[in-house]
């Protein structure tokens, strides 16, 4: 019997993202929207030190089902955005993920559904609260039939004379699924008035997330914390919001609070660990990841991170074994590609450029769209003097990952060397868009402008 933490599931489909009717303003004020990560007011490491993702935020330590939020500008970008943690293909509608729960369980009983919903007399069952509740859960989670579930819930809540908070929450969940966020908000708020429950707070926060109102969600969480002091899920929620808003220092603070309450909280440990790694403290990061290992987490990502931390913390004995273990645990090619990519970095660190070259090539063999590997291969090719190949690689990298500044900057520098100042200028502008604080880009642009201004 699979019991999934339903609160966590939150995949936004492309349609929802592109045609969002809930946006209040066209352009949000800075710091009030999840779609536009603020400039790194959080005091985290710059993109020169910590890789950034599609949405312009630094790569996080933990993937939750809702991590890849961030509005793509055009439909094209939206389709290209990887929507899940590991598959590159996007899901197109909200119902995509949810269906699978039902399908999976149905497949085990090839005779057909357990209950035939069309024949149910919902009104009758609504009269019997305990039965109704069980039935609702079945319809909602297992059959994934939101309409019927909503009908049942509406009848039941009427029967309970609107005094049962549980039904209000369920109705709220149905509205949420159907995309009627304001109505869902009303239901949850009403439920909260009747009975304070952590779950309700979490559901309501999800609604605010969808409405792109992180500050309201924060406020809600803090109120929740007043009533449930030290509640880990609430603290975690606050930390997640801060991370989504690119305020790394506050996020780290709240994750620490989480750890004070629950020192086996995987998400907090992973996020704090990755912050330490990118702040020049790989030894501390290593301690955090070791803890995860002690807790029994055993997967490709953890061993990859352990390997990297060991290398940068100069514990050379553990580096290669961890990375090898990571390779063996890789469940698909993208993960293997990432491990090979990091192995390439280790090779660069020991000065073996041939090995590094091979590792990056293996990265590409496993994942043809690995932009970082293209970029690094280009740098290696330039060191070998193969300028044309380097240029082609850089162009591939820039088109695959326009949010990364490295390929743009490298292309600009290369073009500048050769004298093709127009291409250099265009690439430098793209690099500046991706990372406005990059000093070398600024200087390059200044130089080019001088050339252009000269008559």
């Amino acid at each position: 019997m699979v019991y999934v933490d339903e609160i966590d599931i939150d995949q936004e489909g492309i349609a929802e993202m592109m045609l969002d009717e809930n946006a209040i303003a066209q352009v949000a004020r800075p710091g009030t929207s999840l779609k536009l990560p603020g400039t790194s007011q959080g005091g985290g490491p710059s993109p020169a030190v910590r890789p950034v993702t599609q949405s312009g935020r630094p790569v996080t330590g933990f993937v939750r089902p809702s991590t890849q939020s961030g509005r793509p500008g055009t439909m094209e970008q939206a389709i290209r955005t990887p929507r899940t943690a590991h598959t590159a293909r996007p899901i197109t509608s909200a119902s995509g993920r949810y269906v699978r729960l039902g399908t999976a369980s149905m497949l085990t009983n090839p005779e057909g559904p357990f209950i035939n919903l069309s024949r149910l007399n919902l009104a009758k069952y609504a009269q019997k609260p305990k039965l109704a509740k069980a039935l609702f859960e079945y319809i909602f989670h297992h059959e994934n039939d939101v309409k019927n579930a909503l009908d049942l819930a509406a009848l039941a809540t009427e029967h309970a004379q609107y005094k049962d908070w549980w039904w209000k929450v369920q109705i709220g969940k149905c509205y949420y699924r159907l995309g009627l966020y304001r109505e869902a908000e009303k239901q949850f708020k009403s439920a909260l008035k009747q009975q304070d429950m952590v779950d309700t707070v979490l559901y309501l926060a999800k609604v605010y997330f969808r409405l792109d109102q992180p500050l309201t969600a924060l406020h809600l969480f803090k109120q929740g914390l007043d009533k449930f002091p030290g509640e880990v899920t609430l603290l975690c929620g606050i930390a997640r919001i801060y991370e989504e808003m690119n305020n790394i220092s506050l996020a780290a603070e709240y994750y620490r609070e989480v750890l004070k309450q629950d020192n086996t909280h995987v998400e907090a440990i992973a996020c704090i660990g990755s912050n330490h790694f990118y702040s020049d403290q790989p030894e501390i990061a290593l301690r955090f990841y070791r803890r995860l290992l002690q807790m029994g987490v055993y997967n490709c990502q953890l061993f990859n991170n352990l390997g990297l931390c060991c290398f940068f913390a100069q514990q050379y004995d553990m580096t290669l074994t961890s990375l090898e273990r990571a390779l063996s645990l890789a469940e698909n090619e993208e993960e293997a590609a990432d491990v090979w990519y990091n192995l390439g970095h280790v090779a660069v660190g020991i000065g073996d450029l041939n090995l590094a070259y091979q590792c990056f090539k293996l990265t590409l063999a496993n994942n043809n769209d690995h932009a970082e590997a293209y970029n690094n291969l280009a740098v290696l090719e330039i060191r070998r003097g193969h300028v044309e190949q380097a240029r082609a690689l850089l162009q591939t990298a820039s088109s695959l990952a326009p949010h990364m500044y490295e390929p743009h900057f490298n292309f600009a520098a290369l073009s500048d060397q050769v004298g093709d100042l127009q291409r250099s200028y265009i690439a430098a502008q793209k690099s500046k868009e991706a990372f406005p604080g990059h000093v070398d880009t600024q200087q390059l642009i200044k130089q080019l402008k001088q050339h252009f201004a000269m008559l």
């Binding site: 020991i350 000065g351 093709d420 050339h451 252009f452 008559l455």
Partner: protein, 538 residues
């Protein structure tokens, strides 16, 4: 830039209003409509009001159906400023069709081609333009630059020299200097830059480049002088600070160097060479943990830089973390296989990791590659002696002696006292005899004099431009003076006398802040003092 021309070159497409029959006061004849708005376009352009300019241009072009040359010209210029070179090129070509006699238009076409990287085509068009206008320095200059990109250096140099004769410009000097450097002719490059600096003494880029060149050649006082001047005009000039800071560090002025670096670290937060130097400042002050974290950051940002890896290896060796040291040094060797000292450090690491065979091989490599550093031979001698191979040790000891003697002739810097100590002990153990003299012709002076001359320029408080500050800077730079000849003539341009030999160890950092006021004439007086002391010792 083309001036607004009031004379119409093409027939105006609009008829001028004719007078009616009635006697009326005459209307002022209208200006030819073709060039009517040139002044407005020009005004907007020089005010950098590009949007208004574009509107005016559009109107003008609409009226004249694209025939107004000046409007097209300015439009092309604006496009170029926005980085749209290809479009700009097409418009300039239109201009040159509208007015084939104008050298300016051809020059702009050529420049656009140059900006697009099409150097050969650019050269052709420039040559055409040269036919129209022989004595244009811009044409010569740009031809030189094009030839440079095509790597025809001689032609490039000719063109640039022509340009200089016609009309001197900083940019031309810089290009000429760059070409000399590309060809490896450092001396000629220095000549060019010297002339450039004479012509334009406030150009920080020229000053910094010249300073760096002198630094490369080891003419430290001039290097410091030029870098100091550059810093006067621009106290936050990153290149000058980096170079000046590294000179101060070599001198042992870690605190001053650190203050200088702090100035520039805000504007350049992720610069690997800066972090490298900062790390080595901490190393000099014996703060090894801070040194390591700075160096590791530098290494993270620039994994290919062998100097950072060398330093990481050195610091770890000093902290007796031999495995880490080995790791960094072997990486460094991969990036820089021709440096003897690296192999020596590698050998030290191997020795301490109990791998004597490979340590010996590493030393062999080090000794084969290194030309002038006696430390390499000394350490090899130490290893051989420790292993019981006295003959080998003796051989290496003699090599070391040769290098020491060579250095005594040429270098002002004193030897590391620890090295002297160990060498003497090894010499005693090998029963070499007291033939090797470690001290320099001018003995180690009294420490008072050393303190007087090694007061560090408090250049963060005072600009180096004032005589007093420059005097301080020069007295400090004098520590680098390679030339040891004392000048009997007391001209201001005479090279400074050899100072008391300065230790390589950092002095207890009490020299920051102006402890003693140094008068502008101090260098002169101190020089005389030195002369006196020399006369007394000999």
């Amino acid at each position: 830039m083309a001036e607004p021309r009031l004379g119409a070159e093409l027939a105006s497409p609009f008829p001028i209003a004719t007078e009616p029959q009635k006697p009326r006061p005459r209307k002022v004849p209208e200006l030819p409509i073709l060039e009517r708005r040139n002044w407005l376009i020009h005004l907007h352009y020089i005010r950098k009001d590009y949007d208004a300019c574009k509107i005016a241009i559009k109107e003008q072009l609409h009226e004249t159906q694209g025939m107004c040359e000046y409007a097209v010209y300015v439009q092309a210029l604006i496009l170029r400023l926005e980085g749209k070179i290809q479009e700009s090129l097409e418009l300039f070509q239109t201009c040159s069709i509208l007015n084939p006699q104008s050298a300016d238009n051809l020059k702009q076409v050529a420049r656009s081609l140059f900006l697009l990287g099409k150097h050969k085509a650019a050269i052709e068009v420039y040559n055409e333009a040269a036919k129209l206008n022989q004595k244009d320095w811009e044409i010569c200059h740009n031809l030189g630059v094009c030839y440079m990109y095509l790597k025809h250096f001689n032609k490039a140099k000719d063109q640039l020299n022509d340009a200089l004769q016609l009309n001197k410009h900083d940019l031309t000097y810089m290009m000429l200097g760059k070409i000399h450097l590309l060809q490896g002719e450092t001396d000629k490059a220095i000549e060019v830059y010297k002339k450039a600096v004479e012509f334009s003494p406030e150009n920080t880029e020229l000053l910094t480049t010249l300073g760096l060149l002198y630094l490369q050649l080891g003419v430290y006082q001039k290097a410091f002088e030029h870098l100091g001047n550059a810093l006067t005009y621009d106290p936050t000039n990153y290149k000058a600070i980096l170079a000046a800071g590294s000179m101060m560090q070599t001198h042992g002025d870690f605190d001053v160097a650190l203050t200088k670096y702090r100035v520039v670290a805000y504007t350049m937060p992720e610069s690997p060479p800066l972090w490298n130097n900062i790390g080595m400042c901490f190393f000099g002050k014996k703060k090894y943990v801070a040194a390591i974290s700075c160096l590791k950051r530098a290494n993270y940002l620039a994994p290919f830089d062998w100097k950072i890896l060398y330093n990481l290896g050195l610091v770890h060796l000093t902290m007796q973390q031999y495995a880490s040291a080995f790791h960094f040094l072997s990486a460094a060797v991969n990036f820089q296989p021709r440096m003897g000292e690296l192999y020596m450090l590698l050998a030290v690491a191997l020795t301490n990791l109990e791998d004597v065979e490979n340590a010996k091989r590493s030393y062999e490599q080090a000794v084969a590659l290194d030309q002038c550093n006696p430390l390499v031979n000394l350490n090899y001698a130490v290893l051989l002696y420790n292993q019981g191979d006295k003959k080998g040790a003796l051989c290496q000891y003699h090599e070391m002696e040769k290098k020491v003697n060579a250095l005594k002739e040429n270098s002002a810097l004193d030897f590391d006292p620890e090295m002297v100590d160990v060498a003497q002990k090894v010499g005693a153990a090998l029963q070499v005899g007291e033939s090797l003299v470690w001290t320099k012709p001018i003995k180690d002076s009294k420490s008072k004099q050393r303190a007087a001359t090694s007061s560090k320029p408090s250049s963060t408080q005072q600009p180096l431009g004032s005589n007093q500050a420059l005097g301080q800077a020069m007295s400090s730079a004098a520590g680098y003076g390679k030339t040891m000849q004392l000048s009997t003539g007391a001209g201001a341009s005479a090279p400074l006398a050899k100072p008391p030999s300065l230790p390589l160890e950092p002095e207890p950092g009490s020299e920051t802040g102006p402890e003693e006021t140094i008068s502008p004439t101090e260098p002169q007086e101190w020089r005389k003092e030195k002369r006196k002391s020399r006369l007394t010792t000999e």
